[in-house]
Symmetry: C2
């Protein structure tokens, strides 16, 4: 399987949970620390910590420590690339496998 599908699928998977998708939405306009995010959900702190790690490892979110807090923000460049890639996946393409099939 080509790497592009693997990478993109990993990011999609990270956002394929309603609460993680909402977290991305919350982060889309700026940084938030874990405690601010936690307030919006009925989950325990370790659960959020795990969810944030999923987003960070997918490359969607970046984290930094400031004193006691960890601040999270979107990696807009990565997210943008992913969005563009996804657009291409949805688009018609002249070299698509289905055209090969149709020749038979």
């Amino acid at each position: 399987m080509e790497q592009i599908y693997i990478n993109t699928a990993k990011m999609l998977k990270a956002m394929s949970d309603p609460k993680r998708l909402r977290i991305v939405d919350m982060l889309s306009c700026g940084e938030l620390c874990a405690c601010e995010i936690l307030e919006e959900f009925h989950i325990t702190q370790p659960t959020l910590s795990h969810d944030m790690r999923v987003l960070v490892e997918a490359g969607i979110v970046m984290d930094r420590r400031e004193g006691k807090n960890i601040y999270y923000k979107l990696d807009k460049e990565t997210l943008d690339r992913m969005y563009q890639t996804l657009g291409k996946v949805f688009e018609d393409k002249p070299d698509c496998i289905c055209h090969k099939c149709r020749k038979n």
Copy 2:
């Protein structure tokens, strides 16, 4: 959790598997029957059948029977709406929760 996140997350989840994402890519330029898709993967027929059902149930793909074959194609309208929604999730928004947090 708001329905928009639930619906969108469900579609993302359906595409969060590399092979299913590739199937969407293959379908982006036209219809294909199950056997044509199957040729491109090293999976059994029941596995593909299951994957296609995931895509259909997410609303991403439509199916129809023609003789012995089942043809699959993308539901472009649904996919387009999802893509637009995702774009809005990634965008900065004036009414974002993070602005509320920042006021405190």
